[in-house]
């Protein structure tokens, strides 16, 4: 009876034979990687919980991570390599051996390289992200400049805005801040490992201003909520700057000594009085004033960005430049309690040590390779980001210019990421050869000629680090299920079969990691002794105001209110050199005629707590918490249109329509519809045109288009 209770309670001990193995969850990536205690009995995972020793998640997990057992043991996992036998998209495959699969891939890619050049092969990384440095190196070692990723719609445009203004991004130092300006980010659903520190700081007296079109849990913790209309971020930021400059609350020394273009910026900002901004954003002028004063006077003040919310606009980068300019204006850049510049250690995370990650993946300088995908269309992207711009991929396939693309080797491809996914799919099918690596036979994988089964993070070894100066090299909690393999094993195996002359790709994953880690003095051998991870030995000390000696890595060496890089291209591309506000391409401001028939602003792609994109859609534990695609509608709008909770509604733009359920909620402001993305049966991205893009970054304007709704 007693043992029975122990077993039923899944108590790890000798009596039950349940062991705890240490691993990490990578369902969302790359800011969390929460440590996971994996309860294993007889080689099976029976439960998970957060690792207490991991300083990042401190024992906690989110709804997605808690469901990882269903993800791993899902019946739809691909069991063997597959070869397509039906038409593309039909989902008819036959099992083949790894040898046959990898040899076919190597032979075909080599053939395409000989006939069309290496640049005809695209190397693409969707989710996960852990394999990226190795896939990136494989691409360049193969000779192709075309390493592309889902970062083409994720966080890179935010980085572009940082780089255009300051030369380098800077992270909020929440622990030491007195004021926090959160510009459209809800870590309570997207990055729960941050939740504790924000609430603790708030209870300590941190003042929080949140800019967000919705009422989110982050808003619930705010002192001031600036509930703007989607897409009007630039106007709000410029009005806050107007207040700060007019009331002389700006940092004169910083502006005088370290910035470029302030006078022109100041002139432009004069146009944006809080009263004018109220008309554009819907936020009362006095609230704009109050927020601007608070942020400018309560120092140090930190600024927290979301990954993609503000840059998913047709004026995304410039809107974000306008917002980030507030950091420059108040001198909160690279100061404790403000935003600190911290060098990245590995996979986007600063963790107190230096690596050779960049040297590892950039084996060949860009100049020695043909132009990247999107280079002629988004030159500033190519100046600032080490990859091709995948949003241009379907266009280059269609046009065959500047050269034809013939094949794609993809890890975790999801064609629904692109605006107008059907346009992407139509062009994808023109490729001669497609390989996709995934855990599941996704709708995208069904278009591949060869599909390879990958395994989850709990079935492999990987290196990750954390901002708390912590580092881990995981060991598999269980062996890879079926014939699945870790993504990197596939990359290194292919490198051999492609007969690339590359010593590190020949040496393998662990040898590569040791090479990357060399400057840090950290060795895998040592990391393996600490299965739950270890503190970084002698972490680099972070100093503030590094710019005093080093300047800013921008063309002028200063903070650029006026971007010289954008100026370099503006004669041909007509880029705005100042952070000019332009309303979304389709909006009541820009297209009032269109707005008569499509009176709502449609905002897409927000996070629900149980989903990250489509990654946990197929798990019953998470899916049943919100089983059907539903659009969030304000109660007032719903009443006016005779829509009640759960009604079927038609959500239409000039491009198309989808049918979803109505979810009536006060988290949404009147006049705005929020629709969540990635549903095959109601794909909101089909409502956008493929070229509804920010001309600077190439990012899709997912967060503001016009739509209409009606009860079906």
């Amino acid at each position: 009876m007693r043992d029975n209770n122990l077993l039923r309670g899944k108590i790890p001990c000798a009596d039950t034979g349940i062991e705890i193995k240490k691993s990490i969850c990578t369902i969302c990536d790359p800011q969390s990687q929460c440590g996971v205690d994996v309860y294993v009995k007889d080689g099976f995972i029976i439960k998970v919980e957060g690792t207490k020793e991991n300083p990042h998640n401190r024992g906690t997990l989110c709804a997605k991570g808690s469901a990882i057992r269903q993800y791993i043991y899902h019946k739809e996992r691909i069991k063997t390599p597959l070869k397509r036998i039906g038409s593309r998209g039909a989902g008819e495959f036959e099992a083949i051996s790894w040898d046959e699969a990898l040899n076919t891939i190597a032979t075909t890619l080599t053939h395409i390289k000989e006939k069309f050049g290496p640049e005809a092969v695209v190397f693409y990384a969707g989710y996960a992200k852990w394999e990226r440095p190795f896939l990136h190196r494989l691409a360049h070692a193969f000779g192709s400049p075309n390493y592309c990723s889902e970062s083409s719609t994720c966080a890179q445009a935010v980085n572009m805005a940082w780089k255009l203004l300051f030369g380098a991004p800077a992270r909020p130092d929440i622990k030491n801040a007195r004021c926090l300006l959160v510009w459209s980010c809800n870590p309570f659903y997207s990055n729960t490992s941050l939740a504790h520190s924000i609430i603790d700081a708030r209870e300590r007296g941190l003042k929080i201003i949140v800019v967000d079109p919705r009422y989110t849990p982050m808003v619930a913790w705010s002192d001031i909520h600036l509930q703007l209309k989607p897409g009007t971020d630039g106007a709000l930021a410029l009005a806050m700057a107007n207040v700060i400059i007019t009331e002389e609350l700006y940092d004169r020394d910083f502006i005088h000594n370290y910035t470029y273009g302030f006078e022109e910026y100041r002139e432009y900002v004069k146009e944006f009085t809080p009263e004018r901004a109220e008309l554009i954003t819907g936020i009362p002028a006095d609230n704009i004033r109050m927020a601007a004063r608070l942020y400018a006077t309560l120092k140090p003040a930190a600024f927290m960005t979301g990954q993609a919310s503000v840059v998913h606009h047709t004026n995304g980068v410039n809107n974000y430049r306008a917002a980030l300019a507030l950091i420059a204006l108040t001198g909160n850049y690279d100061v404790f309690g403000g935003n600190l510049v911290m060098p990245t250690s590995y996979l986007y995370i600063p963790a107190g040590f230096m690596t050779r990650e960049h040297e590892y993946y950039q084996v060949k300088p860009w100049e020695e390779m043909p132009p990247r995908i999107g280079q002629d269309k988004f030159p500033v992207w190519c100046e600032l980001v080490d990859e091709g711009q995948s949003m241009h991929l379907p266009f280059q396939i269609e046009l065959g210019k500047p050269y034809p693309l013939k094949a794609m080797l993809a890890f975790g491809l999801n064609y629904r990421m692109w605006p107008d996914p059907d346009f992407f799919l139509k062009n994808l099918q023109k490729l001669d050869f497609i390989v996709d690596v995934d855990l599941f036979l996704t709708d995208s994988a069904k278009y591949a000629d060869i599909v390879l089964p990958a395994c989850s993070s709990l079935e492999r070894s990987e290196l990750r680090c954390y901002i708390e100066n912590f580092v881990i090299y995981t060991q598999p909690a269980i062996a890879p299920l079926y014939e699945s393999r870790p993504d990197v094993d596939i990359i290194f195996d292919l490198a051999k079969r492609l007969e690339l002359d590359d010593p590190l790709l020949a040496a393998g994953y662990e040898a590569s990691l040791d090479w990357i880690l060399a400057p840090s003095g950290i060795k895998l051998e040592e990391l393996k002794k600490h299965p739950a991870g270890m503190p970084v030995p002698e972490p680099l000390k972070i100093y503030e105001k590094k710019y005093i000696h080093k300047g800013f890595p921008t063309p002028s060496g200063k903070v650029e209110f006026k971007s010289l890089l954008l100026e370099k291209y503006n004669s041909f591309f007509r880029y705005d050199v100042l952070p000019i506000y332009r309303p979304p391409k389709y909006s009541p401001e820009a297209t009032p005629e269109l707005a008569k028939n499509y009176p709502f602003i449609l905002n897409t792609g927000s996070r629900l707590p149980m989903f990250i994109h489509s990654r946990t859609f197929r798990l019953s534990w998470t899916r049943n918490l919100r089983p059907e695609p539903a659009a969030d509608i304000n109660p007032g709008d719903a009443r006016r249109l005779g829509i009640t909770q759960g009604d079927i509604i038609r959500l239409a733009t000039p491009k198309g329509a989808i049918t979803v359920k109505a979810n009536i909620t006060k988290i949404v402001q009147p006049g705005v519809i929020h629709m969540y993305h990635a549903y095959p049966e109601a794909d909101v991205n089909t409502l956008l045109e493929a070229d509804y893009l920010d001309p600077v970054s190439g990012y899709p304007g997912y967060k503001a288009i016009l739509c209409n709704i009606e009860k079906v």
């Binding site: 899944k10 957060g50 019953s620 402001q669």
Partner: protein, 172 residues
Amino acid sequence: MKHTIYLDLNRCTGCYACVVACMDQNDLQAGQGQPLWRQIFIVEDGTFPDVKVTFVSMACMHCQEAPCLRTCPAGAIKKEAGVILVNQDLCIGCYSCSMACPFGVPRFGQDGKMQKCNLCIARVEAGLEPACTRICPTGALKFGEINEMMMQAETNTIKRLVNSRVTSITRG
């Protein structure tokens, strides 16, 4: 000394981590007629632009004077070390407990028998805390001795009060 689960309403963000952790711990098969033992309720109040949303993570309250226990005609509900437990072998599926429960907690599976949170009693006896409190990202759900937790809650309130006064001076 009563150990129980306490919810700090200020901290709950409706992230569902507790709900899924409960399913993982108890092998609940969501979506097959399987009720959830822990649920999130979202309470929306006010009108734009003055809206307040409150999230409440709810499960069995394990009452000291449990009405369900007193009502159950089959003697299927018992209290063990302060935890209200259901013996499904004895449950006759009469719903008396659901009528008696002031919180609406009892749920019935496909077998028609009552099931609910058991406070992860096996874990608690082994010196661990329940799965839901263990996972909670914000610290909204806590497990402990009730008076100690109330003392902590009181302390936090005092901290907030003091901080808000300091802040109003700064704002001045």
